[in-house]
């Protein structure tokens, strides 16, 4: 039961990264690919009807994690107290920027929200990456099942780690670059004219950084978290996940050169999915590795009682089928490139 829920939660988190990833990325590049008010409204309109729904995947994934692995939720959320609170503030700033910007047209109002939207999206991508880095590297859990990490200590690996050290910062930068590429591909696909062109070129440039950092982080991860190597050696079938990532990232360049905007975005999705599943496969059966392996939280030690998990499976499947149905319907309703009417939101109405 624990393993099933481990994968279900992982799928929800991966879906969150694929979906909210593109609107975070779109936010991070917003100031750079869109110059005029109309161009900025194009970028905002490309995510306007969906960003909120994308963020729901985070809320639903967190809720599902809470229900399936309460001990993990308690330990990880209190241990990552400060970065999570900062993430919350950034999410608030970002949501406010998207919603408030188009209510007023003024030479001081728009640029303020444009800047906040860009800065908060950018920082969120780095923090999410660093959080993932922390989970892979392991945290100073002890026998009580709790830990607390300051934001940083001496930026070195070891027993006295902070949230940010050179490894987690590196993962954070990789996350930022990957989401910049992902978001740029989305913006390229959904907009037209100068914005679309600039986004495409930016994605092409980010691509090189993503490739270099992916190779570096993968190599480092094998050394830093021994479980990863063990899992890939024990079950070589697991190599399909990193292979998916490699195929995805190669596909991005191929499709960009070919000029197929839709497939370029989809291959970027494949890259992100491959990277995330590789991590999930690599740390299994741990859900939160400890620096001292004795205290790691695993799928069995952190899971809720079986009765609840079995019942949960029944409603979760129904709920997710419905949710996927709505999401597909919404994306189909807003399919195609955005058209900016003289109305403030872009899709008319």
């Amino acid at each position: 039961m624990g393993t099933i829920w481990f994968w279900l939660v992982a799928i929800m988190i991966a879906t969150y990264v694929l979906l909210d990833g593109f609107d975070l990325g779109a936010g991070a590049i917003h100031l750079f690919v869109a110059k005029t008010d109309e161009e900025r409204r194009q970028v905002l309109a490309s995510i306007g009807p969906v960003w909120d729904g994308n963020e729901v995947w985070l809320i639903a994934a967190a809720g599902t994690l809470y229900f399936a692995f309460p001990a993990l939720y308690a330990s990880a959320f209190s241990g990552f107290y400060l970065p999570l609170m900062i993430v919350l503030w950034l999410l608030i700033l970002r949501g406010a920027s998207i919603e408030f910007r188009n209510h007023i047209k003024s030479a001081v109002w728009d640029p303020l929200w444009d800047f906040l939207f860009c800065a908060s999206s950018l920082l969120l991508a780095v923090f999410f990456g660093a959080a993932l880095g922390n989970v892979v590297r392991g945290v100073p859990l002890d026998a009580s099942g709790y830990f607390f990490e300051p934001l940083w200590t001496n930026f070195r690996l070891g027993d006295d780690t902070g949230i940010l050290d050179w490894y987690t910062i590196l993962v954070g930068v990789l996350a930022l670059l990957a989401l910049v590429m992902h978001g740029a591909l989305w913006v390229q696909m959904k907009t037209s004219g100068a914005v679309s062109g600039r986004a495409g070129r930016l994605a092409g440039r980010a691509w090189w950084g993503v490739v270099a950092l992916t190779a570096l982080v993968m190599a480092l991860t094998f050394r830093i978290q021994p479980q990863v190597k063990k899992n890939f050696m024990t079950w070589p079938i697991g190599f399909v996940f990193p292979l998916l990532a490699v195929a995805g990232i190669a596909g991005v360049l191929f499709e960009l050169r070919k000029g197929d905007e839709r497939k370029a975005f989809l291959t970027s999705c494949a890259y992100l999915a491959g990277m995330l599943t590789s991590v999930v496969f690599g740390v299994y059966p741990m859900v939160l590795p400890a620096r001292n392996p004795l205290y790691s939280l695993t799928v069995t030690s952190a899971k809720a009682a079986d009765y609840g998990l079995k019942i949960g499976l029944a409603w979760w499947i129904i709920g997710i089928i419905l949710a996927v149905g709505y999401v597909i319907y919404v994306y189909r309703s807003f399919a195609g490139k955005v058209v900016i009417e003289k109305d403030s939101h872009g899709y008319g109405g």
Binding site: D52, A60, G63, P70, A71, H103, Y146, G308, W315, Y329
Partner: protein, 454 residues
Amino acid sequence: MGQALDVHRLHFAFTITFHYIFPQLTMGLALLLVYLKTKALRTGDEHYNRAARFWARIFGINFALGVVTGIPMEFQFGTNWAAFSKAAGGVIGQTLAMEGVFSFFLESSFLGLFLFGEKKLGRIGHWVAAFLVFLGSWLSGYFIVATDAWMQHPIGYRIGANGAIELSSFWDLLLNKWALWQYAHTMVGAVQTGCFVMAGVGAFYLLTKRDEFYGRTFVRAGVLVGAVAAILQLFPTGDMQGKMVADNQQPTLAAMEGLFESQEGAPLAILGQPDVEKRKLDNPLEVPEMLSFLTYRQWRAHVKGLSDFPQAEWPDQIPLLYYSYHVMVGLGTIFIAVMVLAALLLWRGKLYDSRWMLWMLMVCVPLPYIANTAGWMTAELGRQPWLIYGLMRTAAGVSPRVVAGNAWFTLIGFMGMYTVLAILWLFLIYREIELGPEPGNLPRGEDAAVLAAD
């Protein structure tokens, strides 16, 4: 540890109080939006569609703020209340996860369609989108209330081998009797907020002699639905809620009512200041035997006072609990008077010309917010000193490693950020009201011309 506990409690109290400003309006307005869209569909009058669009803009601002201030609530279960989450996550995680999976996807998907897709969806499709937003927000309310209800009145659980609280009956959790009444009471309160805001804006338009068609529509809708809601708030939902407290949380009832000594024919305190040290109510204004009657339907029934319970079982903020409860009930009574009177004037055809009544409706707008907040304070302060009533003390639920300094850091951060949000919120809502329902008044100069043309 005592100090960290207090900061964590204040942290949750502050963030939840600010958060609940928004959902109480959106849940109430969702119902009224369905009403306006139904009117539009049945009469074919374009005014109703414009009215719905106007309220959708206000809904959108509030919904976005509700979402961004809601995520911190979910996170705080883990960040600030880790020991509680570890112990009880297997039970209340069910309802919290269901809220995400069943209601938030529904609500956010169709809100996007409702706000941005009116042209694409067509008349019926747009009505359906409005209805699904309503359904999603009301479902979400249920899952949250069911979560709180389990903490107030835990059932359907057993204690597992490792000391964690396990779910033993899914349906007991979901159909907790406490949840059903608390939900009804909470939602009627949300509807009142929606109605007072709508009627208040309508009254503002009528008093300032602008957009009078909309003014009349808003006042009518707000008063008709609001009068029903105001009565339902008291009876049966408030009454049943009170009975459940009387049956299951006896020290809480005594503290809410400021009843220190057990009595036969206990009086109902209308006013008075509790003195917990001396165990008495100062300057009491009381209705004799009323409390006994309301609680047990017998004038001479015996009601237990706080002195009958060990002090360790008492709620730890008795004066605050007492005032929250009295503010809630006092305002609820005023709402019945205002709404019923307005409904009578409406029936007699005099409401739209009755300036004093319109003034009354307009100045009442902030009051349901206060009443709803006071109601939640009554429920949550009344649950103390328990986090899960009878099962886990509040002091035992806090995160063991998050010290007071870190909790203060983030609490101050939230206070600063929410102050800014509150100012922006008031500014933007006032602006929408000022611009009004006619698209000719749209903010952006060039847009206005284009829209007025079509």
